[in-house]
Every structure is written in structure tokens, then in C-alpha cells.
């Protein structure tokens, strides 16, 4: 059996300030559905994710995306194929439309409206000052902003850690919809319950090592 692979890590080591944050990791992450990377804080989950869109590079080893070494890919093209949502919302100055336009300055209003609908945001928000949105709306706006680039894969770095239950559930439902539309999602979280709710499979990152733990239990 061979399921299509999104990312493949081969003996990947990352050293920061003398500490081996990731230690000789070898693993492959399937392209289908939502893969959750769980583990205690400080385990290197964020670093692992940042290797995937080349915000960081490994000290040793290689990372491949769909069979191609990341070193061989133009990072600017890679980052439009592999989008990222950060732990804290990162609104840029200006309106919601201004924010989405950063991802695609020539985008038609239709495209921006579609992006908002895909993350369950009211298209009427386009003209609103981004920083006036609630935390949950902001984080989904950041997700919509990433969708404007038309990514195949989404990297989610604890995107709901600062959200209350209700906006958290909306975000999870949105992400599951996107996965159902064929977008590969890699979701980093330290929230075990959330991992079980959203994951098609869970990987555990502990002491610098990554191992496939379980298939997800979501219905």
C-alpha cells in the first residue's frame, strides 16, 4: 500500500542555540486529509511546520514536498502552494480586503468574497478594518488570506490556541471542509481532544522524534 505523500523528512536535524530541537527525524506525512502533529510545548512542532514552507531550513537532512527536495523549489512558489496560519492572528494594517489583497494584489472582488465564504466569514466584512474583528474572525481571515493564493496544502500552527470554544469549533469545521475539498492540512496542536476531533491521523513529536501514533477517531 502506498498513499500519496505530501512531506517526507529524511534524517532531519535542527539545532537552535545548541539544542537539538529536531533530532534525526525520518517520517512521511500523507497528502490526504488532516494530519495532526501533537506533542508537549517545546517539542519542536512549530519548527517542524516551519521547515515545510521553508521559513526555516534544517541543519542536516532533507525535506521533500510531493517528491521534490525543498532545496530545488523556488521558496516563493513553494509558499504559495503551501500556505500557513500562525498561532497568533497576524492582521496587516487596513481593511479585510486590503489584507486579502496582500496575498493577491490583482484579485477580483469575487475571489475575495469566495475566500471569505470558504472560511464562514460574511463577505460584508470586506470593507471593515481588520483589527476590529474578533479573535476567531481574525484567525479565519488569516486563513482566507492564505486561501487567496490557491494553496494545495495548509500548515496550521496551533491556530485556535487563543480562541474560546465556540470560535474554536467554527475553525475546526472550516478546516474539515477545506480538507474535504482536497486540501492537505498539517495541524500542529498540543490539545489532545482537538487532535482527536479533527485528525485523520496523529503523529506524536516527543524529545525531538516524530512517530505516527494513531489513526484519528473523528467520525
Amino acid at each position: 500500500m502506498s498513499e500519496p505523500t505530501a512531506f517526507e523528512f529524511k534524517r532531519v536535524t535542527v539545532v537552535r542555540a545548541g539544542r537539538r530541537v529536531l533530532d534525526q527525524i525520518t517520517a512521511s506525512i500523507p497528502a490526504a486529509g488532516i494530519t495532526v502533529v501533537a506533542g508537549p510545548s517545546g517539542a519542536g512542532k512549530t519548527t517542524l511546520l516551519r521547515l515545510c514552507n521553508r521559513l526555516e531550513v534544517p541543519d542536516e537532512g532533507t525535506v521533500c514536498y510531493r517528491g521534490q527536495r525543498l532545496d530545488d523549489l523556488d521558496p516563493l512558489v513553494l509558499r504559495r502552494r503551501v500556505g500557513m496560519v500562525f498561532q497568533r492572528p497576524t492582521p496587516f494594517p487596513g481593511s479585510v480586503a486590503d489584507n486579502l489583497a496582500v496575498a493577491h494584489p490583482d484579485a477580483a472582488v469575487d475571489e475575495l468574497t469566495t475566500a471569505l465564504k470558504r472560511v464562514a466569514l460574511d463577505p460584508g466584512l470586506l470593507g471593515q478594518e481588520a483589527r476590529t474583528l474578533s479573535g476567531g474572525e481574525l484567525q479565519r481571515m488569516c486563513l482566507a488570506r492564505t486561501l487567496v493564493t490557491g494553496p494545495e496544502t495548509l500548515l496550521l500552527d496551533e491556530p485556535t490556541s487563543a480562541l474560546d470554544d465556540q470560535p474554536k469549533q467554527v475553525f475546526e469545521a472550516t478546516a474539515r471542509d477545506l480538507a474535504a475539498q482536497g486540501i492537505t492540512i498539517i495541524w500542529v496542536t498540543h490539545d489532545g481532544a482537538q487532535a482527536r476531533r479533527v485528525a485523520d491521523r496523529i503523529y506524536q513529536l516527543r524529545d525531538g522524534h516524530l512517530a505516527r501514533a494513531t489513526e484519528g477517531t473523528r467520525p
Binding site: 521553508r54 521559513l55 526555516e56 531550513v57 516563493l76 509558499r79 500556505g83 500562525f86 497568533r88 497576524t90
Partner: protein
Amino acid sequence: MNDTVTWVGLAVSLLLVVVAAGISWWQRLGLQRQILIAAARALAQLLLVGAALTLVIAPGRSIWWSWLWVAAMVGYASTVARRRAPEVPNLLTLALASFAAAAVVTLGVLFGLHVFPLTGRTLVPIAGMMVGNSMTATVLAGRRLTDELRDKRDEVEARLALGQPSRQAAAPYVRGALRAALTPQIETTKATGLVFLPGAMTGLILAGARPLQAVLVQAVVMFLVLAATATTTVVIALGLIRRLFTHDHRLVHLPVPAGH
């Protein structure tokens, strides 16, 4: 130029230093020693520079001595800039490059287009104004840009993660730093003549020049300073961007400086 200060006059003016020291003593500021040392040091430095300048710009002396003086000023100002903002990576090299660029622009216009005749007497003070005034702006721009990129790392990386090239991702912060560094100079330029009489003009008038002549020289100096600060800060900012981002569009690690 007959209203010059004599040695006796200089000695008498020391009374003003005594006034400052006296106030410190009266109000128990404990600054008397420092005031006296500062005054003595300034006087000694000025006398030394005056003597050296006399040698350098003496009639018949090769202009190369003046150029050497300018080079030394640029080198010294660059080390001062680095010392003032140690958290800015590679500031020494960048400052050297930015002063060199500003020198090409300002000296090129002023001497190339014959605003002033190119002599030691004009070159040394003009280059001095150029370097001295743009140094502060250089430090300000470098520090502001480094701070912004460090403090707003999330935002910068969010831009990078959307596929923006580093130059574009950094553009809003470059604009902010340049505005912050240039605004004080623009404000000073606006207020000139209304709020204060600037140094060059004051000096010329005291030395007996006609006010109109002093005004023309001062105006040229202000424009020189404007061009110099704009040039140095833009070179610093664009140069820094090349240091702070890798060729594959990653933002390098920026440590928080001590004391923050």
C-alpha cells in the same frame, strides 16, 4: 571679517562655563566636575582640530590632504554609528557605504555643478556637515528597522508565507524606518529661520559676513543635509534588508539586545 574673537575674549567667555558650574553647585547637581571637564575637553578638541585644519587647508597644500581628512571623518563616524547601535548587524560596513553614497551625491552636486569651488576650505566643512548630520539619521534608521523586523516578526513572516519576496515583505517597515529617520530633519528644515538661527549662518554673521551671503550658504547647507540624510538612510535600510533576510527569503534570527 574683523570682528574675530581674541584669546582674551575666549578667556572671558569661560565665565559662562563658570555660570553653568555655579548653578550646578548651588542646586547640588554634582555636575560641576563634568561641566568643567566637558568644556576643557571641547576646547582642547577644537584647538587641535583647528590646528590640523590650518595645516590641511593651508594655501598651496594638495587637496588630497582634505580628501584624506574626509575619509577619516567617514571612518570615524561609521565606528560611532556602530557603537551607538550595536544591535544592528554589520552597521560599520553599511554606514561606510551609506556615507560614501551620500558623499558622491552631495559633493557631486555642490562641487560638480560649481555651487562651491572645490578647495580644502570648502570640501572639509561641507563633508563635515554631511557626515555629522546624517550620522544620527543613520543610527535612527538602522535601529528602527532592526527593531521593527524583530518585534513584528510574526507579521513579516506572515507576508513571507504568502509568497512575498523579502524585499516586498520588508517594504512597509523600511518605509516606517525611513520616515522616522527623515521626519526630524524635515521639521528642522521647516523651522529654520523662524525658531532658531542655524550654526553655519550664526558663525558667518559673527565672523562678519553679510546676512544675505550667510543665508545663501545656510540654505545650501540645509539642502545638503536633507539630501545626505535621505541618501544615507535609504542605503542603510536597503543594505540592512540584504543582511536580515537570506537569499531564500527567510528572516534571520534577531536577538533581543541587552537592556530591552
